[in-house]
């Protein structure tokens, strides 16, 4: 099986600070891939490199064997990489529905002239995308709130909406930055099932940054461990649990902490 995403020997310097150094990640198509590591290990920086917010100082990032390093974020998103953010980034003053509709920007092909003169193509495209957005919200049980403001949703629903919005892009790869942040054990268990369902239903490869070990160990096919911006281990959950370097760097001795 060929890798969907390859982070190949990537280094990212911020001035003199080395946030990521010679990092390797290989994500297989159809897998759920976990990225773990202590705070400040460079996990979110890695996501920002993959999605084009930062340009790698060195190294290459390939998506479906095609280099995407240095492309603009919008281009990378259109190529099929959706993401969520550690601090939820919804358009809080816009409706829930409009938040999802934003992800259709690249899928609506009408021109500015079609829009300005309200030509038939505009109406057709808009109608279809609203229908699809509502359908998606229904799948996520958010349809009742479709016309409410996104900022007024409860926290858990906001997380869900962010995932729904990313899926509206119809990505092949979905990057989730701490989807379980701020959730208790029960909610995290629900999230595990939810993500499993998302992966099957939308046929999407997942990469997630997470601190809840239980979720990571349960859900992930493979795990990459970062420490000080370096890949210190990559393998199945069992291999990671048993890896002495990981235990030393991160798990602090026992290896199955929550």
């Amino acid at each position: 099986m060929s890798a969907l995403l390859e982070v190949d020997n990537v280094t990212k310097l911020f001035g003199g600070l080395c946030a990521i150094s010679n990092c390797h990640v290989r994500v297989e198509s159809g897998h759920t891939h976990g990225i773990i590591g202590p705070n400040g290990a460079g996990k979110t920086t890695l996501f920002n490199l993959i999605t084009g917010i930062y340009k790698p100082t060195e190294g290459d990032i390939r998506f479906r064997s095609e280099s995407i390093a240095g492309l603009r974020p919008g281009r990378i998103a259109i190529k099929g990489i959706g993401r969520t953010f550690q601090n939820i980034r919804l358009l809080n003053n816009q409706t829930v529905l409009d938040n999802v509709r934003i992800a259709y920007d690249s899928q609506l092909h009408y021109s500015a002239l079609d829009a300005m003169l309200r030509l038939p193509r505009f109406g057709r495209d808009e109608k279809q995308s609203i229908g699809e957005s509502l359908e998606l919200l229904k799948t996520f049980s958010l349809a009742d709130h479709a016309h409410g403001l996104a900022g007024e949703l409860p926290y858990g629903s906001q997380r869900k909406l962010e995932i729904a919005r990313a899926l509206a892009l119809k990505p092949d790869l979905l990057l989730l930055d701490e989807p379980a942040a701020g959730m208790n054990t029960g909610e995290t268990a629900d999230l595990t099932e939810f993500l499993r369902w998302v992966k099957g239903h939308f046929k999407v490869t997942l990469v997630l940054i997470e601190h809840h070990m239980h979720l990571v160990m349960n859900l992930c096919d493979r795990i990459t461990v970062l420490d000080f911006g370096q890949t210190i281990a990559e393998g199945t959950p069992e291999e990671i649990r048993a890896n002495p370097r990981v235990i030393a760097a991160y798990l602090g001795g026992t290896g199955d902490e929550d």
Partner: protein
């Protein structure tokens, strides 16, 4: 009472009726003395100000940038259209609509350059760039003797009529409203709210910015063209004070609101002339700017900020929006 008002707000026939009636009256007034000359000037000025205000709202309100260069686009439209009618096609009134479009296109071309700069920088820095742009444009007119230099361009025919102004107000409103309630409008708003999220959702940020700047400057140019064929044009008119006036209108009426922009332009123009009638002509910018300070303190988004008159909302978009 409020039930009655919401009935009016929800009625989909009132706006088209108003447009048709307004157009009919404006044409009639061209042949019959319905309005005095003074009232006509005020009505045309209101129209020009609505065009300026709505078009600036696209950039400053919907997109959330802070452009102080709108008077520059206005002057581009004013000068290029006036050169068109006085120097290139003198005494052919039929070509006036072409001149107005020409003025708009010239302003839009420069607007495109500003859009390209907006990829590199935004916020305060872009605001300073628009200020520099305004000074460059104004000083250029002062130095180009072909357009009269500091004395201004003389002998421009007074082609701007009430029907033409009304026509251009309707076109501006139609185009900008349609743009705002399309993927382009949603993209512009997404850029304002969170550019990083917009990018991550594959929003074509650059296209949206270009479109917003180009359309905004085009209509700024159109307003200038209408202005120059009514008034004597002089580079000094298109300075930071003119830009400030437009900003006051935008923020008075309300950002991200087409209805607000109309309201802002009407209220501002009315007060502007009223203060002059009261003998406070020299004090009016003091008074109007103080109004702006009060507004920022007590109602920072303007009278109708972020709310829209239901008449302007497309049927498809009616649900869940904050309307009035």
């Amino acid at each position: 009472m409020s039930a009655f008002l919401s009935q009016i707000a929800r009625n989909r026939w009132i706006l088209p009726t108003l447009v048709v009636t307004g157009f009919a009256v404006s044409i009639l007034s061209h042949y019959q003395p319905i309005f005095s000359g003074y009232t006509q000037i005020i009505l045309i000025t209101i129209g020009i100000n609505i065009i300026l205000c709505v078009s600036l709202n696209l950039v400053n309100g919907y997109m959330g940038e802070f452009s102080v260069g709108h008077a520059g686009f206005m002057s581009l439209g004013a000068y290029t259209s006036a050169v068109f009618t006085t120097k290139w096609t003198p005494d052919i009134p039929m070509l006036f609509p072409v001149a107005v479009i020409f003025g708009g296109v010239m302003a839009a071309i420069i607007g495109l350059l500003l859009a390209l700069l907006s990829f590199k920088t935004r916020g305060d820095y872009l605001a300073i760039i628009t200020l520099a742009f305004l000074m460059i444009v104004k000083s250029s007119w002062e130095n180009i003797s072909y357009v009269g230099g500091p004395a201004g361009l003389l002998g421009v025919d007074k082609y701007t009529t009430l029907p033409w102004t009304f026509f251009w107000v309707v076109v501006t409103m139609f185009v900008i409203r349609n743009l705002v309630y399309s993927k382009f409008g949603r993209a512009i708003i997404a850029i304002r709210e969170d550019e990083i999220a917009a990018n991550a959702m594959g929003v074509r940020v650059r296209e949206a910015k270009i479109l917003a700047f180009v359309v905004s400057s085009f209509f700024g140019g159109v307003a200038g063209a209408l202005y120059s064929h009514l008034n004597f044009i002089n580079p000094k008119y298109f300075d930071i004070v003119k830009s400030t006036e437009i900003l006051v209108m935008v923020y008075l009426g309300g950002i991200s609101s087409l209805g607000g922009s109309i309201l802002g332009a009407v209220v501002f123009t009315f007060l502007f002339y009223q203060l002059e009638n009261m003998g406070l002509g020299y004090w009016r910018m003091v008074i109007l700017s103080s109004l702006l300070i009060l507004l920022m303190l007590f109602r920072p988004r303007g009278i109708m900020g972020m709310r829209e008159l239901t008449w302007f909302l497309p049927k498809r978009e009616l649900k869940g929006r904050r309307k009035l």
